[in-house]
């Protein structure tokens, strides 16, 4: 049995490295993306979620004072933030943000405008502090703090000609500044595992069926489970190669350093089972190899964009964020980021478990659906 599985793996692997297009899509294309996106966005950022609690309200109307309202407007006008207002009635805004942000898949950041905001600006004597709470591993921390600082200083200067009496106090800020490229590298690994897994399974199951190779194998002592194990083994080898090449490239060109731990291994194993499983399910629903290829494109492309491969999911519209929660790649990407970049074992474990669960589901479903015999 082992020899048969080894033969299947070897056959797939030889077929892979003898195809220039396979090498391109598995190795060269992800590296090309890293270079392109790294060059374009570099340390750059995008539009970030920011919760905001304005405590500087008119005591009778409970509406924002003109000065605090103006400050919020200026923040809005930077177009750097999706502002989410937190009511003054919320006693523990940090707890609220943590739970609400998790629910809506947003960044855990809170800006609190103190109740003495207007008074300070008008008096021109006392200092006021707007408090910026951020998750310590937030990859946007550097850029976000910079923007809030700059808006705050400019606003104080404009309305009171005293730029120094309004300051931003940063609380719980990340100790490590995660750049865009740090964020992007695990996404590219996830994307590569997705495409090689789904397309690999679609090709081997769809095309091999069309070429009658599967029919031929079904007349030999090879069992369906051996065939599937061979395919999964091959995917694991490809996944490992992709991981090593991408990480090495990221380090060599952009100095991206990562933490490789048990969760990274677990996620690579999960992805090597999960994505071929999805491919097998697809190949069974779409019988012709060409249509199966189109179906694989239809599945992988939206997943790639919605699951936070290229940009943080929080930049997506709310409805897309909800859809992203149903995308298996989301958990692989998040898990890889937690493990490789953020060094967050607890979150990495959660994502690894979800990815392994999804892997088991799709692999079993694909195996059950797969037509090994003709009936």
């Amino acid at each position: 049995m082992r020899s048969r599985i080894y033969t299947i793996i070897k056959g797939h692997f030889k077929s892979w490295y003898r195809s220039k297009s396979n090498i391109f899509w598995t190795i060269a294309f992800p590296l090309l993306l890293i270079v392109l996106f790294g060059a374009i966005f570099g340390n750059g950022s995008t539009k970030f979620d920011l919760y905001l609690q304005n405590r500087d309200l008119n005591p009778t109307t409970f509406q924002p004072t003109p000065l605090s309202g103006g400050y919020v407007n200026i923040l809005n006008q930077t177009a750097a933030f999706n502002l989410h207002l937190v009511s003054i009635d919320v006693q523990d805004p940090i707890a609220y943000v943590k739970s609400d942000a998790q629910l809506h898949n947003r960044g855990q950041r809170l800006l609190v405008i103190p109740s003495n905001f207007s008074q300070t600006l008008l008096s021109g004597t006392k200092n006021a502090t707007v408090q910026l709470y951020m998750d310590k591993n937030d990859q946007a921390s550097g850029s976000l703090l910079g923007i809030v600082n700059s808006v705050t200083v400019s606003y104080a200067a404009a309305v009171a000609h005293t730029p120094d009496n309004l300051q931003v106090q940063q609380i719980g800020i990340a100790t490590r500044n995660v750049r865009y490229i740090d964020f992007f590298i695990p996404g590219v690994i996830g994307m590569t595992l997705l495409t090689t897994g789904v397309f690999g399974a679609v090709n081997t199951n769809g095309r091999y069926r069309e070429l009658k190779i599967i029919k031929k194998l079904a007349t030999t002592p090879l069992s369906k489970i051996e065939w599937i194990l061979g395919m999964v083994g091959y995917q694991m080898i490809l996944a490992t190669i992709s991981l090593v090449v991408i990480l090495f490239f990221g380090y060599a060109i952009f100095g991206v350093t990562v933490t490789i731990d048990i969760y990274t291994v677990g996620l690579v194993v999960a992805a090597s089972l999960l994505f071929p499983g999805i491919g097998m399910v697809l190949a069974n629903f779409v019988k012709e190899a060409e249509s199966a290829d189109a179906a694989a494109n239809a599945i992988t492309f939206p997943m790639m964009f919605l699951a936070g491969t290229f940009w943080p999911r929080e930049t997506l519209p709310d409805i897309m964020k909800i859809i992203a929660n149903f995308m298996p790649l989301t958990y692989v990407n998040d898990g890889l980021r937690d493990a490789l970049i953020y060094a967050e074992p607890a979150q990495a474990l959660t994502n690894t478990i979800i990815a392994l669960g999804l892997a088991a589901f799709f692999l079993v479903l694909g195996s059950v659906l797969m037509n090994w015999k003709e009936e």
Partner: protein, 319 residues
């Protein structure tokens, strides 16, 4: 399913394949309708019929790829309907599926090794390459081979476990005449080695040339079986005298008193021959301008057998 078939113990009968009242239905469509036949060790057996006649369904039941809906079938004494027996059958049979392609980017040698690794019992790949005459292409990738060479790789792959019986499903469909002849050459070599071969085909000449026994199947039922000579003798009709390129004019020039002559597509005149008539007819023709035409006596073929049994011919495409 009945248990009537007298079951020889595996390996203890010279009946390699035994099929009894075998049926296969797909919904309301009956693909195979109660057919029975057997195949003896060392025979080349041709299952002959047009597309959709039930050939592939039958052969795939024998290859354990499909379950029968009625009747019984045994291969090498093992019951194709029993799960445990199927495992034994798979070890001992060689299969070339219809339209089979090996793995594109593996070489001829690598493909043979690949499929060989699925079996405990394996023949030497180089010997197989020699058998199918592909020594020069040994290290060529499969995708770079012509159709005929690809099919020869398929034949080598089907023999890789030194099978007790080889099932070849339409092995020459879509090949040019030269490539077909090459494949026939390989099958003849197998026959020479005493291999038992189960061949499905819609080519009458192929069955006639290669097979020891032919069963003709149409609409899921076997309509005749026997050696090619037996089938031709009993169903082929009479020999025919052919006068080439004689045309309408030639019909008018025929001497009177001949059996009813007919004009065929290419302008040939065909005259059915009854016993002892040939000399008289030739003497008569000698008195006419037709004496300068090319004249031949044509023996009936399996084409004629099929025509006489079904009232239609099978086209080159198998329809």
């Amino acid at each position: 399913m009945s248990d009537d078939l007298s079951a020889p113990l595996p390996g203890q009968s010279d009946k390699v394949v035994q099929v009894d009242k075998l049926s296969k239905k797909y919904g309301n469509n009956i693909a195979v309708n109660g057919i029975s036949f057997s195949l003896t060790k060392g025979e080349v057996f041709a299952f002959l019929g047009p597309n959709g006649a039930g050939k592939t369904t039958t052969v795939e039941i024998l290859e354990c790829l499909r379950n029968p809906t009625g009747g019984q079938a045994r291969v090498l004494g093992y019951d194709v309907s029993k799960r445990s027996d199927r495992a034994e059958i798979r070890k001992r049979i060689g299969v070339l599926p219809q339209d089979f392609n090996a793995i594109d980017r593996l070489t001829v040698r690598e493909n043979i090794d690949y499929f060989g690794a699925m079996f405990k019992r394996q023949l030497d790949a180089d010997k197989l390459i020699e058998l199918v005459d592909l020594k020069d292409k040994r290290d060529e990738q499969f995708k770079k081979l012509s159709g005929g060479l690809k099919q020869r790789v398929g034949l080598a792959v089907s023999l890789v476990n030194d099978p007790d019986v080889v099932f070849l499903d339409e092995p020459t469909t879509g090949l040019d005449p030269r490539a077909r002849r090459d494949v026939w050459g390989v099958i003849e070599r197998l026959k020479g080695q005493g291999k038992t071969v189960f061949l499905t085909t819609h080519y009458m000449d192929e069955a006639e040339y290669l097979a020891d026994i032919v069963s003709i199947i149409d609409h899921g039922q076997i309509i005749a079986s026997g050696t090619p000579d037996q089938l031709i003798d009993s169903h082929g009709g009479k020999k025919t005298l052919i006068i080439r390129d004689a045309g309408e004019e030639g019909l008018k020039q025929l001497p009177s008193g001949l059996p009813k002559a007919e004009l065929r597509n290419a302008g040939d005149i065909a005259i059915p021959l009854h016993n002892g008539e040939l000399t008289n007819i030739l003497m008569g023709l000698g008195q006419t301008p037709l004496r300068d035409k090319e004249i031949e006596v044509r023996r009936p073929t399996l084409d004629d057998v099929f025509l006489n049994l079904t009232g239609r011919r099978v086209s080159e495409e198998g329809n």
